[in-house]
């Protein structure tokens, strides 16, 4: 293609102007420069560490941490790697609880901003515009100091209804414990789940045949509940509610977490939800107006319009930017260091402070966040692909 026909015959341009050569050379050059730079930096670091007689390997991971981690029963004799895993677990506990919460809160506020009710719309608007413009660190410190630390001190905690034990150190609520016979319940519940799927398939076929609404989720859920109730009665109260019991300073039973955990969770959910709300609002507005009008023409109710027409289409638009907010949530959990919640960043910095090599630990920290972020990206991308409109 690059050969030019001239009266004297076909003349190829010189190789330094040949687009195919230039392409290959530039790409090779780019790769060489990138890897060269990385090698240079890595080698430089290694040489300096060796010159200063500092360790360059990862042997330290097997040495004891020497510190305990709050609320984990962590033994100071455990190796550094175990402490890092405990930190990863705490980061994970923030993400797994926080991401669903912020999605729900963000969606509610995003929809509320579009409400025709003046007060609801304005309140949501004020929430978004205020929270979105405050750095998350400030919100975390505010929630910790102004809310959590104001709770009763742990030597005199509040025990509302005897169901909770609330202090600024720990917040514990009731938990469920299983007793003998629970196995039978699980089997019956599994049968219920299978039945629910079968009913769902039947309802879908019925709906396709007759055009009546299938209500498969609602009916399927009902089937599971019926099975659960029957199973519960047959197995004879296999699940009990365990209330937290306070004995001096020891709290036994119940399910809860440290005050710093709840500070961080609340602050980051509030913060990230404000961004999600804007994405949800923008996505709903991006659904063509004709869709809403068509829904109105079909006399769908406000809820039906949202549920069956607007939200499914808005969801497709919203998912890619919402992934970013999930990733931001996970990365912002590193701000826990300000209030002393032992997630992975705090544990890493703690180890560095206690004499373990900083470069290696920082590399491990970066790898941990990379794994978190890529996992979230992959999971949400799978969802995204399933929801995409299939071109026919």
């Amino acid at each position: 293609m690059t050969a030019i026909d001239t009266p004297g015959g076909t003349v190829r341009p010189p190789f330094w102007r040949d687009i195919r050569v230039i392409r290959v050379v530039l790409q090779v050059l780019a790769v060489v420069v990138v890897f060269g730079a990385l090698w240079l930096l890595g080698n430089n670091l290694r040489n300096e560490l060796i010159r200063k007689n500092l360790p360059t390997n990862f042997d330290f991971l097997d040495r004891p941490t020497g510190v305990t981690i709050s609320d984990s029963g962590f033994d100071p004799g455990s190796p550094v790697s175990a402490a890092l895993l405990a930190g990863i677990k705490n980061t994970f506990l923030l993400a797994i609880v926080g991401i669903p919460l912020l999605t729900i809160l963000g969606t509610l506020i995003g929809v509320a901003r579009l409400s025709t009710n003046w007060l609801v719309a304005k309140a949501a608007g004020v929430y978004v515009e205020t929270i979105r413009n405050i750095p998350p660190l400030l919100i975390i410190i505010f929630v910790f100091n102004a809310v959590i630390l104001q709770l009763p001190a742990p030597n005199d905690p509040a025990t509302p209804f005897d169901w909770f034990v609330i202090s600024n150190l720990k917040i514990v609520g009731p938990s469920l414990i299983t007793e003998s016979g629970a196995g039978l319940l699980w089997i019956i519940m599994l049968l219920g789940l299978i039945a629910a799927v079968a009913v769902g398939i039947w309802r879908t076929r019925y709906s396709e045949r007759t055009g009546h609404p299938h209500h498969r989720i609602l009916i399927g859920f009902g089937v599971v509940v019926v099975f659960a109730v029957i199973g519960y009665l047959i197995a004879g109260n296999p699940i009990q509610v365990a209330l937290p019991r306070l004995d001096g300073r020891i709290i036994t039973g119940g399910f809860g977490g440290l005050g710093s955990y709840f500070s961080l969770l609340a602050a980051l959910v509030i913060y990230t939800a404000s961004h999600v709300a804007e994405i949800v609002r923008g996505s709903i507005l991006a659904v063509p107006k004709g869709q809403t009008e068509a829904a109105n023409a079909l006399a769908l109710s406000g809820f039906q319009r949202l549920r069956f027409v607007t939200l499914p289409q808005a969801l497709r638009i919203a998912i890619p930017p919402i992934i970013n907010q999930y990733l931001n949530f996970v990365k912002n959990t590193s701000l826990a260091i300000a209030i002393g919640f032992a997630e992975i960043t705090l544990i890493t910095f703690q180890a560095i402070g206690n004499g373990y090599p900083a470069p290696q630990l920082i590399v491990l920290l970066m790898a941990a966040y990379l794994v978190f972020s890529l996992t979230i990206s992959v999971m949400v991308n799978i969802l995204n692909r399933r929801l995409q409109l299939v071109g026919r």
Partner: protein, 369 residues
């Protein structure tokens, strides 16, 4: 495609350049006292002492949140026992105690700052331990303050010993030897440790009752107690338990591999101790006219010998009158101690083991000859 690659390349080069430019400022929490950001990168060859003399300022890593030892006031002025030792080193090197640039560092940042050459010397209530000496690429110098770890509790808590603290919560700074000692001291006794990165947030948690005890070096606890807000009950609302459960020798630290610089800092510390032993302080050192040969050698004053007048130079690489400069501008050990942490200050510490060996303490300077 090529265009994209080009953009990528340029972005990469810019990112690398930015990394290089920012490396000195990124790792410090607070801006240094001096306006300009200078980096104490060790010279490719030669001593750090020469680099510092060429630069014209000493870069000293300090604390900024422990009253009495290293503290910044509302105007950003540094003061304290450790801070005075930074000034003493500057007085010895430059003959001017003001030529110091302070870098406030957290417990976690301090050794990295020292290893990377960002600071010349670390004087930040840092405990001398074997693994730090061996594993952090650091050389610990003569101890300036012999400390020990203690536990502070609220006076109305009824806690009298560590044994009373089973199942209670203890606040501690993360990345410190005190954190390690705490785990050792409690052993199998259950407790909840709450680790914070800085003293201010730790204090907020302590005031709110989140933690029942606050553990740290006793001198630090005394500093915090003295500064405890009246609104929260003031110093009398707190007691420091009698038990001392660790040895915490605090002193200056320099990076491994530069013996000359280590000797310089060592001898500045020793000079303050020797001066107290000689009875020299900032009020009388410049006026010294006596003929004690030992004192004259120490102060760099001319000594009559058979071959005429000579001035003693031990070959440390410092001016011969460095001790005079240190004592006149900063003071001897007793002055530095009394000014920052002594009985007349809010901390109200007594000399205890930090007395001269002649008074039964641990301070002992090798002969200056």
């Amino acid at each position: 495609m090529t265009k994209r690659l080009f953009t990528l390349l340029i972005a990469l080069v810019l990112a690398l350049a930015a990394c290089n430019g920012d490396s000195s400022s990124d790792t410090t929490t607070t801006a240094a006292a001096g306006g300009s950001e200078t980096t104490a990168a060790p010279a490719a060859s030669g001593s750090l002492l020469q680099t510092i003399q060429d630069r014209g300022t000493l870069i000293c890593g300090v604390n900024d949140a422990v009253p009495g030892f290293g503290y910044t006031d509302a105007e950003g002025n540094f003061s304290g026992f450790d801070v005075d030792y930074c000034r003493a080193v500057a007085a010895a090197v430059f003959g001017d105690a003001t030529k110091v640039e302070f870098k406030a560092l957290t417990a976690q940042q301090r050794f990295t700052a020292l290893q990377s050459g960002e600071i010349d010397v670390l004087i930040r209530n840092t405990t001398w331990t074997a693994s730090r000496d061996g594993g952090e690429g650091a050389t610990f110098l003569h101890t300036t303050f012999y400390d020990g770890q203690g536990m502070m509790v609220r006076a109305d808590s009824g806690i009298a010993t560590i044994e009373d603290m089973a199942n209670l919560s203890v606040c501690v700074l993360s990345g410190t030897t005190t954190e390690l000692n705490l785990a050792t001291r409690f052993g199998s006794t259950p407790y909840t440790p709450l680790t914070f990165a800085d003293n201010d947030q730790l204090q907020a948690a302590f005031v709110a009752g989140q933690c029942d005890g606050w553990t740290s070096d006793k001198s630090q606890l005394a500093g915090v107690r003295s500064n405890f807000p009246e609104a929260d009950g003031g110093p009398s609302a707190l007691v420091i338990l009698d038990e001392t459960f660790s040895k915490e020798p605090l002193g200056p630290v320099v990076a491994d591999g530069d013996t000359q610089w280590a000797q310089v800092v060592d001898w500045v510390v020793l000079a303050t101790i020797q001066a107290e032993e000689f009875g020299l302080d900032s009020t009388n050192v410049t006026a010294y006219t006596g003929d004690d040969a030992g004192v004259r050698r120490f102060l760099g004053l001319p000594i009559q010998t058979d071959s005429g007048e000579t001035v003693f130079d031990p070959g440390l690489g410092l001016p011969t009158d460095f001790a005079t400069q240190v004592i006149s501008q900063v003071g001897n050990y007793a002055e530095i101690f009394d000014r920052n942490v002594g009985p007349d200050t809010a901390l109200g510490l007594t000399r205890g083991v930090n007395a001269l060996w002649t008074d039964g303490g641990l301070l002992y300077a090798p002969p200056y000859r």
